[in-house]
Amino acid sequence: MRSVLGSGETATAPESHREPDDGLRLEGLTVRYGGTTALSDVDLHVPRGQVLAVLGPSGCGKTTLLRSVAGLERPSEGRIAFDGVELSEVPVHRRGFGMVFQEGQLFGHRDVAGNVDFALRMRSVGRSERRDTVTRLLELVGLGGYQDRRVTELSGGQAQRVALARALAADPRLLLLDEPLSGLDRRLRERLAVDLARVLDRNRMTGVLVTHDHDEAFTLADRTAVLVAGRIEQLDTPWRLWHRPATEEVARFLGCGTVLPGHAEDETIRCELGTVPRPADCPSGTVRIGLRAAGLRAAPAGEEAPIGQPRAVVRERVHRQDHVRLTVTVPDAPGLAPLEAVTSLDDVPHLDEEVTLTLEPSGTALITET
């Protein structure tokens, strides 16, 4: 398992267990498609043996980033280097990078085994070893026995897994993963994420992973980059991304529906909806607090509710797996947009019922930069 518990402190510590390898470096990478600038001025470093996750809204340039590194797009500006070697003159097939494409891109004219085998043949692996490896990889992705199946006769998720197995078979020094697990059910996805992390770790592969699943990013990656509109907004450990988003944009992208101004003083940070404890790394003065749905707990406002706690009215209720998500408005603060809050399944307020709101520190993020 790769990324065990990131925390504010351990994340910034030097990665002493890694050799001082160079890994992947992007400098000032800009990619344009005609008039569209898909990536602008991206600097990035993924040390050898580490995995970087890339998060970002649809169309922000994630695929373009991977394709450029693979050598499939020609950068308009900037440099890409791996282990100190500049890659602009190195053709795709000499880079030794593997890629799982967003759309799979299986070879329609080969069967499942043939697709995986292709990567092995490119590496001139012997016949019997190839067969064993194919079998092993297919089993890894849960497709044992599918060797002879035509790839046109696979389900969407099965095809995606074949693409993953194929990329792993290439045994690349850098693995580029473009939403490799997006079409799979959660259970399989979790299992494969763990298996993948193990493979990456065992082979000391460097990796760049595009995903929309934040948990997946945190399971697989050492650090995560948030890409917005072709620029890297923040590159950080999962913990810091989640709890210390660099910008409001990142906070919102990572689920903070509401961002409120706050004031840090002594032990607490105070905002319009209450207070949260002030962490050690929080400077005093004006900060912003990002609120996720789980950052606000709503409870029916019985008579005994303490005075001073903000009150809100339930506007919408949506059932979620293990909680109920509410949309509430705060009559006392008409300037505030509707807020998201959660409540437990046990005591669900009705529509238009009045509730009291409590800030839940674990559901908040702190934006300290201005």
């Binding site: 344009r32 498609y33 005609g34 008039g35 569209t36 600038t37 898909a38 602008s40 809204p57 649809s58 169309g59 922000c60 340039g61 394709r67 693979a70 050598g71 499939l72 797009e73 020609r74 308009s76 053709p91 795709v92 097939h93 000499r94 030794g96 990078f97 593997g98 890629m99 494409f101 759309e103 891109q105 299986l106 070879f107 329609g108 004219h109 080969r110 069967d111 043939g114 292709f118 990567a119 490119m122 590496r123 035509r150 046109t152 006769e153 194929r166 990329a167 078979a169 290439a170 580029l176 917005v228 509109a229 072709g230 620029r231 910008t247 409001e248 944009e249 919102r252």
Partner: protein
């Protein structure tokens, strides 16, 4: 429309890009403010990615050395066996008389008729070929390989014989332009059916599914989704058929009875009868110009977008037709009937004459003596050997040319080269043949009388066909699949071998079968160049048909039957080979 009039979107509704536009502190949108600025891509056809030039792996490699050597080989062959002889014969004639020919209104009437009948024939061949293509690509027909083989049979029949069969069937002894069109189409339905079905088989049927689920009926889905996807193959086949028909000779002579004249018949008249080389050269130039213009039109129409199709051969696509889908199946059956009629007539003639039913023709054919130097079997064997040589030569050249053509960066260079390779189909066989006479003795070993010349000349005719069959498929290969192979460590050559060739593998084998058939039936050049001790079947047929006497006639028809049999057998064999060698399909 059931949507509300008020915007249903929230403030975030500008979407990912839009949200970034509005909210990004960095200000720069990835889409460069495209919303009102027309094409977000800037509309530049040369933009990176727009034509794929900037994307490594989008083309199958781009070795300068390969392109140079490949082009040199292909263009060298074309130069020696086509451009040089034709240029030489044209130069002999170009001393005078050009303006006289060009100013004659008669000339322009002939040009108009040539192009008109070719266009009409092409259209008819396409209309008749499409249902057949559908049948071959999408309907489970038992014994499809046999069917595919059978529809190529018309292609090898000597034009003279087919012309006579049509005259007999249509009962039109008088010159008749529609009969010409019909017979031309008869020859070429197979070109359309095979070329189009080749691509159609590999089209991803899910695109049609999408259209159907959006409310498009089968016809509409065909017109809006399938047809545009088939366009490369259609233009390809159309161009070939157009060339065949615009140089149609035997058919025009027999059914036009001298009243309908084309550039081809005029060139023949002037070259062979009148030795009016200057008149012939002027007309040849006109023919060349007309053919080039037609090719240019096709290139422009086709080239607008020969986009990467998701080729995805799927067994599920072949299924029992239902509902309206029976209509094209019915049409295909009608077309098959129409194709069969002249063939059956020929077969009947081979066993029936005024003397009643008899196998005399076949018996005589299997022995020697009579007007033929060799037996029918020997002639068939000669045909097979020459065709085999011509086929491998043209496959070599054609595949090489395709690889070069798809590797070329500049579209116009590629188009020019493409057109150059097509020209042999658009130039009169007489011109080429006479050109050989005045040039090839310069080469060592006087090729003019060498047995190698027949396969060379046939290869010249087949190579354009090979290219037209393979190129559309190769151009349709999704560059992203090549990219995938590259990331797995496949270099440009490896990609060619492992991705392009297997994907085009069917097309290569189709081309091989088709080229073989053409070589079997080729008479224009073969008749001119074949040596008497090794006549091919078409040469033998021509000898037999130009003799009086019942037996000769019956032998000619028997030889036609033999030619058809050999053709069907050869195609069947090649098609079987195909499914073996490319078993992954």
């Amino acid at each position: 429309m059931a949507f509300p009039d008020e915007p249903v979107t929230t403030e975030e509704a500008a979407g990912s890009g839009g949200a970034a536009n509005g909210g990004s502190p960095n200000g720069e949108s990835p889409n460069g403010g495209s919303p009102n600025g027309g094409s977000p891509n800037g509309g530049s056809p040369n933009g990176a990615g727009a034509d794929g030039t900037a994307i490594p792996g989008a083309r199958p490699g781009g070795h300068a050395a390969f392109i140079t050597v490949g082009s040199a080989l292909v263009l060298g062959f074309l130069g020696v066996f086509f451009a040089w002889p034709v240029a030489a014969i044209l130069r002999l004639g170009l001393s005078s008389g050009l303006d006289e020919i060009l100013t004659a209104p008669e000339t322009w009437r002939i040009v108009a008729f040539t192009l008109g009948q070719a266009a009409a024939s092409t259209l008819l061949a396409i209309v008749a070929g499409m249902p057949l293509a559908y049948l071959l690509a999408r309907v489970p027909v038992p014994g499809k390989a046999l069917l595919r083989a059978l529809i190529t049979v018309p292609f090898v029949l000597p034009t003279l014989v087919v012309g006579m069969a049509f005259r007999a069937l249509l009962g039109t002894a008088e010159p008749n332009a529609w009969a010409i069109v019909l017979a031309n189409a008869f020859f070429n339905v197979a070109v359309v059916a095979r070329t189009v079905s080749g691509l159609w088989t590999q089209l991803d049927p899910r695109a049609t599914d999408a259209a159907r689920s959006l409310g498009a009926g089968p016809l509409r889905a065909f017109r809006t989704v399938t047809l545009p996807a088939l366009r490369p193959a259609l233009w390809s086949a159309g161009a070939v058929v157009f060339l065949f028909c615009s140089t149609s000779f035997g058919v025009v002579l027999v059914l036009g009875g001298g009243r309908y004249r084309t550039l081809e018949t005029e060139i023949y008249l002037r070259t062979v009868r009148l030795l009016d080389l200057s008149g012939a050269a002027a007309l040849s130039l006109l023919q060349l110009a007309a053919v080039l213009a037609a090719l240019a039109v096709a290139a422009i129409a086709r080239g607008r977008r020969e986009n990467a199709l998701a080729l995805r051969r799927s067994r599920a696509a072949v299924r029992r037709p239902s509902g309206l889908e029976w209509i094209p199946v019915g049409c295909a059956v009608l077309v098959l009937g129409a194709l069969a009629a002249p063939i059956v007539a020929l077969l009947v003639r081979s066993v029936n004459s005024r003397g009643g039913w008899s196998l005399a023709g076949y018996r005589a054919l299997s022995g020697t003596g009579g007007v033929l130097d060799v037996s029918g079997w020997q002639a068939a064997w000669n045909s097979l050997r020459a065709a085999t040589d011509a086929t491998w030569m043209s496959l070599l050249l054609g595949v090489l040319a395709c690889l070069v053509l798809t590797s070329l960066r500049s579209r116009w260079t590629a188009e020019l080269m493409d057109a150059g390779l097509m020209l042999p189909l658009g130039v009169s066989a007489v011109t080429v043949g006479f050109g050989y006479l005045v040039t090839l003795h310069v080469l060592p070993g006087d090729l003019r009388t060498s047995p190698l010349l027949v396969p060379f000349a046939q290869a010249l005719v087949i190579t354009p066909l090979v290219i037209r069959t393979i190129l559309p498929v190769l151009r349709s290969v999704d560059p992203r699949v090549r990219a995938a192979a590259a990331t797995l460590g496949a270099g440009p050559w490896r990609i060619r071998r492992e991705v392009d060739l297997p994907l085009a593998g069917r097309a290569v084998m189709t081309a091989a079968g088709f080229g073989f058939v053409v070589a079997l039936g080729e008479f224009g050049a073969t008749g001119f160049l074949a040596r008497p001790e090794t006549p091919t079947l078409p040469v033998a047929i021509s000898t037999l048909i130009s003799r009086p006497g019942e037996l000769n006639t019956q032998m000619a028809y028997a030889a036609c039957a033999l030619l058809m049999l050999v053709t069907a057998g050869a195609v069947l064999l090649i098609e079987t080979l195909r499914s073996d060698s490319a078993g992954e399909f």
